[in-house]
C-alpha cells in the first residue's frame, strides 16, 4: 500500500536526495503528484502510466498519490519517472519492498516502457550514495558515468520490464554492454606551431605555471587565439580529487562523460554574445552551472573581451576572487565552483591598429565607448597584460619551430608542484602574509618598486600582483628569493599600463 523509493534531483552541481513516497489506496482511480514537482516532473504521471501499459504491467485501479519528499524544495527533471514507477510497483505489491530498500533509481520513462538517459548522473548517483544507497539502477546510456563513483554498484537497464523481471527474481539483471571507449589520445594543438612571439610564449608559460590571469592586447592576426588554445596543453593533468570535482560539474551541466573522468584541464571559449546566465550559471530551476563552472580547473578564454556585455564581464569578478559563484534565485541559491585561469584577448581599439602610438584612426567617441566596456577592477585582475604584435614575416617563413608544449609543460608542472608544496596554493593565489614569507624583496627591488609606486606606475593592489608574478618567474628560472630588481622589472614589463587611449590628453 505504501512505498518509499530513494532517488535524487540536481541543484547546481550537487545532487539532493529525494524520497519518492507512493501510496496506493482506496479512492477514485487516478494519480496525483505532490511535493513541488515542476512541469517536466508532473508529466511523469502520463509517462509512467503509459509505460506500465506498454510493459504489460497492471496499473492499479485505485487512487495513487506520489509525494516527493522533502516536499518543500522544488523538483526538476524527468529522472524521477523510474523511482515513481518502482514505487507504484512496490505499493501495489508487484515487487517486494525488501528488494529495493538498499537501492536508488534514476531514469526517464518512454511511453513504450523504455528507460532513457537523464543529465547530471554523477551528482545524482553521488547523492543516492550519500543517502545510504549502495546499488543504483540507471539507464544504460548513463551507466558509464554512474560507474565513475566507485563505491556504488551500478545496474544498467534499458526497459521497465527488464527491471521488473530482475526485481521479482524472474530473470538475472541484464548485462548491457556499456563499456566506455578509453580516453582517446589528446590532440591538443602544440606550442611548436607558434613561431617567434617570445614575449607571448613567456607570458603563457608564466600564466600556466603560476595560475596568473592573462590579457593579450594586440592587432588582429597576431595569434592571440592560437596562443590561448595552446594553454591547456601545457597545464598538468588534474589530480584525482580535481578530476572527480570537474567531472561532477560537467555531468551536472548535462554533458555525458564519454571519456570517463575528466582528467585534462577543460577549455571553455564562449562567444562574446554569451548571456550572463549562460556564463555564470543558474539557468532553469536546476541552477545549471555556467561556463565559468565548466572551466573549473581549466582555462576560460574570452576572445574579443571588449565585445562581451559589461554585465557579464563584471560578474566574473566574484569567481576570479573566490573561485566560486553563489547564484541566488527566489527559492534557493547554489554555490557553483568556478576556479579557472582567465585568458582574454582584445584589440587595442575598434580599428585594431591602435597599439602603435599614432596609428589609430578611431574617432574619440568610438574609443570612449570601447574603453567604457571594460571596468578598471576587471582589468586590474589580470596579473599579466601583454601587447601582442603581428609576428615577423621572416620568422613565420623560415624561423625554427618553437619549443614544443611537452617541454614547457614539464617546467610548468615543476613550478606548480613547488609552489603547492611551499604554500599549498599556486603563486597567483598566495596571500600577502605568505608573500612576505616566501617572496621577500631584495633592497634594490624594494627601492625600484617604491619609485614605481611614487611615479604612479604601480598601485598598491598591483604591487602584490607584481610580486606574485616575479615569484613565478624566479621559480621558472630556478632562482631562490629574495626577488631581484631584474625579476620585478620583468614582471612589471608584462603588466602593461592599460591606457587604451594612445592619444594622450596631456
Amino acid at each position: 500500500m505504501f512505498a518509499s523509493i530513494r532517488s535524487a534531483v540536481v541543484v547546481g552541481v550537487d545532487g539532493s536526495q529525494v524520497s519518492v513516497e507512493v501510496h496506493v489506496g482506496a479512492g477514485l482511480p487516478g494519480m496525483t503528484i505532490v511535493g513541488l514537482p515542476d512541469a517536466s516532473c508532473r508529466e511523469a504521471r502520463d509517462r509512467v502510466r503509459a509505460a506500465f501499459i506498454a510493459s504489460k504491467l497492471t496499473w492499479p485501479p485505485q487512487k495513487v498519490t506520489v509525494n516527493l519528499a522533502p516536499s518543500s524544495s522544488r523538483k526538476v527533471g524527468t529522472g524521477l519517472d523510474l523511482p515513481i514507477a518502482v514505487g507504484i510497483l512496490v505499493a501495489s505489491g508487484v515487487v517486494d519492498a525488501s528488494q529495493v530498500n538498499r537501492m536508488g533509481f534514476v531514469g526517464e520513462l518512454g511511453l513504450d516502457g523504455s528507460v532513457r538517459a537523464v543529465p547530471a548522473i554523477v551528482p545524482l548517483v553521488d547523492a543516492i550514495r550519500v543517502a545510504g544507497g549502495d546499488e543504483v539502477v540507471v539507464p544504460v546510456a548513463c551507466a558509464g558515468d554512474a560507474e565513475l563513483l566507485e563505491e556504488v554498484k551500478v545496474r544498467a537497464i534499458s526497459t521497465l520490464s527488464e527491471l521488473v523481471a530482475a526485481l521479482s527474481n524472474e530473470e538475472p539483471w541484464p548485462d548491457h554492454d556499456y563499456r566506455r571507449v578509453e580516453a582517446a589520445p589528446l590532440d591538443t594543438a602544440d606550442l611548436a606551431d607558434l613561431r617567434g612571439q617570445p614575449i607571448m610564449r613567456r607570458a603563457l608559460e608564466i600564466s600556466a605555471a603560476g595560475g596568473h590571469h592573462l590579457l593579450m592586447i594586440g592587432v588582429p592576426g597576431a595569434g592571440k587565439t592560437m596562443l590561448a588554445e595552446r594553454l591547456p596543453g601545457v597545464l598538468p593533468d588534474l589530480s584525482s580529487s580535481e578530476a572527480m570535482e570537474v567531472s561532477r560539474i560537467h555531468s551536472a551541466a548535462g554533458r555525458v562523460l564519454t571519456g570517463g573522468l575528466v582528467r585534462r584541464p577543460p577549455f571553455q571559449a564562449p562567444h562574446h554574445s554569451a548571456t550572463l546566465v549562460s556564463v555564470i550559471g543558474g539557468g532553469s530551476d536546476a541552477m545549471r552551472p555556467g561556463l565559468v563552472s565548466l572551466a573549473h580547473g581549466g582555462v576560460l578564454f574570452l576572445d574579443e573581451l571588449s565585445e562581451f556585455s559589461p554585465s557579464v564581464l563584471d560578474a566574473l569578478r566574484q569567481p576570479i576572487e573566490e573561485g566560486a559563484v553563489r547564484v541566488s534565485r527566489a527559492r534557493f541559491s547554489a554555490m557553483l565552483p568556478a576556479r579557472f585561469l582567465l585568458v582574454a584577448a582584445m584589440n587595442p581599439c575598434p580599428c585594431g591598429e591602435g597599439g602603435r602610438p599614432g596609428a589609430c584612426s578611431c574617432s574619440d567617441a568610438a574609443l570612449l565607448r570601447y574603453r567604457r566596456r571594460l571596468s578598471g577592477p576587471l582589468l586590474d585582475r589580470f596579473d599579466l597584460r601583454v601587447a601582442v604584435e603581428r609576428p615577423d614575416a621572416q620568422e613565420l617563413l623560415t624561423g625554427a619551430p618553437g619549443e614544443p608544449s611537452a617541454v614547457v609543460a614539464e617546467r610548468v608542472a615543476r613550478v606548480r608542484a613547488k609552489s603547492l608544496e611551499r604554500g599549498g596554493v599556486l603563486n597567483s593565489r598566495m596571500s600577502r602574509v605568505a608573500l612576505d614569507e616566501y617572496a621577500p624583496l631584495s633592497n634594490d627591488a624594494q627601492r625600484l618598486l617604491g619609485r614605481a609606486m611614487e611615479m604612479g606606475r604601480l598601485t598598491a593592489r598591483g604591487l602584490d600582483r607584481i610580486r606574485r608574478v616575479a615569484l613565478t618567474m624566479a621559480d621558472l628560472e630556478g632562482v631562490d628569493p629574495p626577488l631581484e630588481p631584474m625579476q620585478v622589472a620583468a614582471a612589471l614589463s608584462l603588466r602593461a599600463d592599460i591606457s587604451l587611449h594612445p592619444g594622450v590628453a596631456a
Binding site: P357, G358, A490, L500, P502, A506
Partner: protein, 434 residues
C-alpha cells in the same frame, strides 16, 4: 566682450544669433544676412511658421534642402532676445562681422564667420599668432614636441591657437596655460596699449617687421572650438577649456547650447587657419583634420611648417607629405619665428640651437644597456618584444633598464609601447594623464 556692438540694433544681433541655431544654416547664409542687413526679416519669416525653408533662405540667396518643418520647429523654441541675453550674462562676447569689436584678423578673411562668439579676453588675438595643429592620436613624442613648441612660442610673445582637440591640440594648449600660469607675471595685462596696430601689421603677413616689442609679454592660448561655448567638447578637456578662458580666449561661431556636429569641425579649421600668421603641423596622418586646416591656410597664403617625423611612424606620414610638397621643415622654435617674421635677424646656425635633448639623454646615462635602449627607441615607438629583438642583452636586464628609464622620465610606456620622451610636458605628463 569688451566692446559693445554699436552699429547694429540689438534685434539684428539677436536675430543673427538665433538664426545661427537653425538647422541648415551655415556661415555662408549668416554672412549674406549680415551683408544684406536683413537678418531680422529672415528670423521673422523663419519663426512665423508660415514661410517655407526656401523662402527663409532665399533671403540669404542660398537654397538648401532641409524641410521647412524642421526650421520652423527649431525656431519655435528660440527666443532671440533671451538667447542673446544668455550670452551676455555668461560673459560671452558676440561679434558681428563688419562691426567694431570684430577681430581684425578675420575681418578680411575670404570666408569669415558672420557671428563670432568669444569667451575670455579677445585681446589675446592682438599678439602675433601661430596655430599648432595635429592628430588626436599623437605619439608621446608628438605631444611633447607640440608642448615644447607652444611653451617656447609663448615665451617669445606669440599667442598660440589650436582646436582644443585631444592629442596635439591639447598638448599645445596645456603647455601654454602652464606657461601663462608660471611665467613671469603679470602675463600680458589685459589693458595693455596693444591697440591692434601690431596685430594688424602681422596679420597682413606682408612686411613682417621685427615685432620684438611684443616679446615682453607672454603669448596667450587661443582655442577655436566647433561647438557652443557652453558645451566644452571634448569632455576630457573641460578643465583645459576653463583654463584657456581664464588666460586667453576660446572662440566659436556656434551659439550657446549647440553641440558639436560633424561639419562644424572643418568649418572650425578655416577659422583657425584665418586667425594664425603661420600654421604648424606637428603630427598628422596622410588624411585628416589637420590636412583640411592646411588647405585652408594655403588658401589664405599662410606659411605652413611641418615637424618632420620618422618615416616609419604612421602619425608622421602627413607631415612628411607636407614637407615633400614644400612646407617648411620645422627644426625648432626659431623656424617658426622666422616664418612669422619675428626671428629673421637672430637665426642662429643649426649647431648652436637648443634642441640637443637626445644627446643629453645619452650622455647622462652611464648604463650601457640603457644607452643602447635609448638608441634603439630613437627610431620610434616599439613594443617590448621588438625592443628585445633589437637589443642583445638578457631579458631581465632589459626589463630593468626599461623600468629605470621610464621611472626617470626618459622614456614613456603607453599600453606596452615604449617611446622616447622629451620636452616640457615630461615632468607633469604622468600625473596629468590620470
Amino acid at each position: 566682450m569688451s566692446e559693445e556692438v554699436v552699429s547694429q540694433p540689438l534685434e539684428h544681433t539677436a536675430a543673427l544669433v538665433a538664426l545661427a541655431c537653425l538647422p541648415g544654416v551655415g556661415p555662408g547664409s549668416l554672412r549674406r544676412w549680415v551683408q544684406a542687413q536683413n537678418a531680422t526679416e529672415a528670423w521673422e519669416l523663419a519663426s512665423s511658421g508660415r514661410a517655407s525653408k526656401d523662402e527663409v533662405l532665399a533671403l540669404s540667396l542660398q537654397r538648401n534642402l532641409t524641410t521647412n518643418h524642421k526650421i520652423t520647429e527649431a525656431a519655435r523654441h528660440i527666443d532671440p532676445l533671451a538667447l542673446l541675453e544668455r550670452h551676455r550674462t555668461l560673459g560671452i562676447g558676440v561679434h558681428i562681422l563688419g562691426t567694431a569689436g570684430y577681430p581684425q584678423r578675420l575681418a578680411h578673411d575670404p570666408s569669415p564667420p558672420a557671428v563670432l562668439f568669444s569667451n575670455g579676453d579677445i585681446s589675446a588675438l592682438d599678439a602675433p599668432m601661430v596655430a599648432i595643429v595635429g592628430t588626436r592620436n599623437a605619439t608621446r613624442l608628438g605631444c611633447d614636441t607640440a608642448a615644447r613648441l607652444a611653451g617656447e612660442l609663448s615665451m617669445a610673445g606669440v599667442s598660440v591657437a589650436s582646436g582644443l582637440a585631444l592629442g596635439i591640440d591639447g598638448a599645445a594648449h596645456s603647455a601654454l596655460v602652464w606657461a601663462n600660469a608660471n611665467g613671469q607675471p603679470p602675463a600680458a595685462p589685459p589693458s595693455a596699449p596693444h591697440d591692434g596696430q601690431l596685430g594688424n601689421g602681422v596679420d597682413e603677413g606682408s612686411d613682417g617687421g621685427p615685432g620684438g616689442g611684443l616679446a615682453s609679454g607672454i603669448g596667450r592660448p587661443v582655442a577655436v572650438v566647433a561647438a557652443g561655448l557652453d558645451c566644452r567638447y571634448p569632455r576630457a578637456h573641460r578643465r583645459l577649456h576653463d583654463q584657456i578662458v581664464e588666460r586667453g580666449v576660446v572662440l566659436s561661431e556656434v551659439p550657446l547650447g549647440m553641440g558639436p556636429s560633424k561639419w562644424r569641425f572643418p568649418a572650425r579649421n578655416r577659422i583657425l587657419a584665418g586667425l594664425a600668421d603661420a600654421l604648424v603641423v606637428v603630427e598628422s596622418r596622410s588624411s585628416g583634420g589637420s590636412m583640411l586646416t592646411v588647405a585652408e591656410a594655403l588658401r589664405r597664403d599662410r606659411p605652413i611648417l611641418a615637424v618632420p617625423g620618422h618615416p616609419t611612424s604612421p602619425s608622421s606620414a602627413g607631415t612628411l607629405d607636407l614637407i615633400c610638397d614644400g612646407a617648411t621643415p620645422l627644426r625648432d622654435v626659431e623656424d617658426v619665428l622666422v616664418a612669422i617674421g619675428m626671428g629673421g635677424s637672430s637665426s642662429r646656425p643649426l649647431h648652436e640651437r637648443s634642441s640637443s635633448d637626445g644627446e643629453d639623454l645619452l650622455g647622462e646615462s652611464q648604463d650601457e644597456v640603457a644607452s643602447e635602449l635609448l638608441g634603439v627607441l630613437a627610431a620610434g615607438a616599439l613594443t617590448l618584444s621588438e625592443v628585445l629583438s633589437r637589443v642583445d642583452s638578457d631579458r631581465g636586464l632589459v626589463a630593468q633598464a626599461l623600468l629605470e628609464l621610464e621611472l626617470s622620465g626618459k622614456i614613456v610606456a603607453t599600453g606596452s609601447w615604449y617611446e622616447l620622451s622629451t620636452g616640457a610636458a615630461r615632468a607633469s605628463s604622468r600625473g596629468a594623464r590620470r
